[in-house]
Amino acid sequence: MSNVVEMTGVVKRFGTVAALDGLDFQVAAGEVHGFLGPNGAGKSTTLRLLLGMLRATSGSARVLGLDPWHDVATLHRRLAYVPGDVALWPNLTGGEVIDLLGRLQGGQDRARRDRLLQTFDLDPTKKSRTYSKGNRQKVALVAALATDAELFLLDEPTSGLDPLMEDAFRGCVRELRDQGRTILLSSHILSEAEALSDRVSIIRAGRVVESGPLAQLRHLTRTSVTADVASVPPGLDLLPGVHDVVVTDHRVSAQVDPAGLAPFLQALTAAGLHALTSQPPTLEDLFLRHYGPAGSLETARR
């Protein structure tokens, strides 16, 4: 079994709204898979479907070879989940919640639990009511990461964590991957997925629009190049695969398709190249590529 998560043509409607609209989605065993999309794209719905909390309107979904709706008890012993919006019982302490969730999961590693509490600098004796958003998130993370699961489903796991804790979290995820576990990580924070993921899937309006290794997806987008030259050659914007050319004095900047890089750089070298900076495509660019035209992300930013 190479795919831990296998979804084919999954549709989920809430009334007349299709939250998932023919979703095809695979996560391979042993990988860290980034699941990216803006708010409302269907990330949480997908995860909740994989956990049997929602029932698909149509299509098929398998997790660890099991049916997420029918085989809940068997399946959930083998996975751990961190909800996107962590709600705790106000009058239980963080330690009580962690231990309760651990027991319900079928046991957690005590030494690992205590180590995680230290790593995340969390006081388990405080009542949940007094925790900040970040600390509530830590409770859920410790409870999940201390279990011996094969698959971790993490819904925006670092929301509310400070940069230091984000770093600690990344360390934990790498450790899990080195142990051969599978991690599905949903996020709208691009740098997070970029730093951790072996592969990413991009979801938009209930469909996966792009899926593959980061390296492969980078080919799909343009490199941003800025160069200082002795004299700007004319006709740069006429080269194939070169876009958005901006010239100020001796400085040229442009967006270049992978295929257009070689002729573009040759033209610059011929013009007396002094300095060159190039930025690889970020997930930000991937996002803009997929959400820009529809205007959803750009509208949201305004």
């Binding site: 809430f14 949480s44 909740r48 956990l51 049997g52 909390m53 929602l54 029932r55 809940v72 008890a73 959930h76 012993r77 751990a80 989940y81 961190v82 909800p83 919006d85 962590v86 709600a87 705790l88 019982w89 106000p90 009058n91 239980l92 302490t93 330690g95 009580e96 919640v97 962690i98 231990d99 309760l100 969730l101 027991r103 319900l104 999961q105 079928g106 006081d123 388990p124 004796t125 405080k126 009542k127 009511r129 007094t130 859920a140 489903l153």
Partner: protein, 550 residues
């Protein structure tokens, strides 16, 4: 604000630069406007609802009791029925149409008004504080006392408006003006008194739920105190005078109009409100009176059932204490029952129906069936934890583990069923022991116990109905309360309304055997238990196939 820019010497300019409200009261006006905006439907509905009920009751009373002899007969009968006096109070002028028509409103409806005022006051004080909304606003120029002042302003204004509009409605309905004003002012003053109780409670506890529970507990206890006081012979004893609801009865609207009694709830406000402000000044935002103490770093909860018990046992404990106190008091009143039926005719009738024991049996049966209905209310509220846990997002964390839906739903359902059974066990024992010690008849303990336990299946039907609604119509879990109120109203007024027999038969409470319970009651009890089980199974089936709320 342009006021700060305008430093002109003209009188008008000076008025505008006057510091509007500074210090601990800054921002009160903003909070009042915000609260009115949030409650713009709720408050008019409450106020008009009470006025409308008052009007229709006044109008209906004149038709029901057209002449003085019919009023005197009805009032005498009510005053002679111990369970009615315990529940609603006494009529102090049997000839008065107003006193008779509004007998169910002087104590009972007043308690409901008090509950609404508690909810309103807590909502705008501790509720906003706990949710962090006050913190959001506190970033602006918001004084420390502004939330409490604005909440009390809203609650007091609502109480007064309810009282005045109801007074107008009552006199419109044909009742005498002075009595109507006394009645309306009674509602207003009592509403204010319990708003003040809630304002104080909001300073004591760190959670809105606990503050509401504490305040409603005060209402329940003071309601019970006046029941004890009203049942004493002769007239109200000191217990009635220790209860704000008792004060409202002693205003005696339409039966002498004792205006001076209205000063008692106002005096209580004058004590409680400053106390609330003193407590508020001594604590941090968000904190209760006690500092939040650290708890255990390790958890002992072994599963979802343990969690459900942990989440519910405090509330159940409070119900148990209330049931035992109420049961002992009610049971011990059995000795007064014979005195109550002082008219020889009534006593002869009762004897003809089954001897002196029938008197105590009828009284105990009435009280035990009331406790059965209240236990059903507990069952519903406990089962509705399922929905509140789901919407709070707690269920999602639990179902993410190896816990199945069935197991999780069973946890709160089991607590609800067991809680109902426990409450009725305590009811039977406490009423039985109270009654047995009052009349020196040990046999009353097992009699009462069996009768109380026989109430369990009917209460389970309502508890299971809550599970069924949770499974199929989760957004309508509140509707189970409407169902319970409908069944109570049907039981109380069904005959009066000429309700069809089949409708009356729908109520599970109607099928519960009354005292003395013997083998003849077993089929009905079995049928009720099976109904409860079927409703529970129906609920599970719905819950297993529906989506979890986001």
């Amino acid at each position: 604000m342009t006021g700060t820019l305008d430093r002109g010497d003209s009188p008008a300019g000076r008025t505008r630069t006057r510091p509007a409200m500074t210090g601990t009261l800054a921002g009160t006006g903003v909070l009042v406007r915000l609260a009115l905006r949030r409650d713009r439907w709720l408050l008019p509905l409450w106020i008009l609802g009470f006025a409308l009920i008052a009007y229709s009751t006044a109008a209906a009373g004149a038709e029901l009791y057209p002449d003085e002899p019919s009023r005197v007969a009805a009032a005498t009968a009510l005053n002679a029925t111990a369970s009615m006096v315990a529940l609603f109070g006494r009529i102090y002028d049997p000839a008065s149409l107003g006193a008779l028509s509004l007998i169910k409103y002087t104590a009972f409806m007043t308690a409901i008004l008090a509950v609404l005022m508690v909810i309103l006051t807590i909502r705008h004080t501790r509720g906003d504080e706990e949710s962090g909304r006050l913190e959001l606003l506190g970033g602006g120029r918001l004084g420390r006392d502004a939330p409490l002042v604005s909440a009390l302003a809203i609650s007091f204004a609502t109480s007064i408006l309810t009282g005045l509009l109801s007074a107008a409605a009552l006199s419109l309905g044909g009742l005498p003006g002075p009595g109507s004003l006394a009645f309306g002012l009674g509602w207003a003053a009592t509403g204010m008194a319990y708003s003040a109780v809630a304002a104080l409670a909001a300073q004591l506890t760190a959670s809105a739920r606990a503050a509401t529970g504490l305040s409603i507990g005060v209402i329940a206890v003071t309601y019970g105190m006046r029941a004890v006081g009203d049942l004493a012979e002769p007239g109200p004893s000191v217990w009635s005078w220790l209860s704000p609801i008792g004060w409202n009865q002693q205003v005696r609207a339409y039966a002498g109009d004792h205006w001076w009694v209205l000063s008692l709830p106002l005096a209580l406000c004058a004590v409680l409100v400053p106390a609330a402000f003193v407590l508020r000044a001594q604590r941090d935002l968000g904190a209760g009176l006690r500092d939040e103490r650290p708890g255990p770093a390790r958890g002992q909860l072994s599963g979802v059932l343990g969690l459900a018990v942990r989440l519910q046992y405090r509330v159940l404990l409070a119900w148990c204490v209330a049931f035992v106190l109420f049961g002992v008091v009610i049971g011990s009143l059995v000795g007064n029952v014979a005195d109550f039926l002082s008219s020889p005719g009534a006593q002869d009738l009762m004897r003809a129906l089954g001897g002196p024991r029938a008197l105590t049996d009828a009284f105990l049966a009435a009280e035990i069936s009331i406790m059965g209905v209240i236990a059903a209310a507990y069952g519903i509220s406990a089962a509705n934890h399922l929905r509140s846990e789901e919407t709070a997002g707690h269920t999602e964390a639990l179902l993410g583990t190896a816990t199945t839906r069935l197991r999780w739903a069973s946890s709160h359902y089991a607590v609800a069923l067991a809680g109902v059974a426990l409450l009725q066990l305590l009811t039977g024992l406490s009423i039985g022991i109270g009654a047995a010690s009052a009349v020196n008849d040990g046999e009353l303990v097992p009699r009462s116990l069996v009768a109380a336990l026989a109430q369990i299946p009917a209460a389970w039907v309502l508890t299971s109905a809550a599970l069924a609604v949770f499974g199929w119509l989760p957004r309508l879990t509140g509707a189970v309360w409407v169902l319970l109120l409908g069944l109570i109203a049907l039981g109380e007024f069904g005959v009066l309304w000429n309700a069809p027999e089949w409708l009356m038969e729908l109520s599970p409470f109607r099928h519960t055997p009354l005292l003395p319970v013997d083998a003849e009651g077993i089929p009905a009890l079995a049928a009720l238990t099976i109904t409860a089980a079927l409703l529970g199974a129906l609920g599970y089936a719905g819950w297993r196939r529906r989506d979890l709320a986001a």
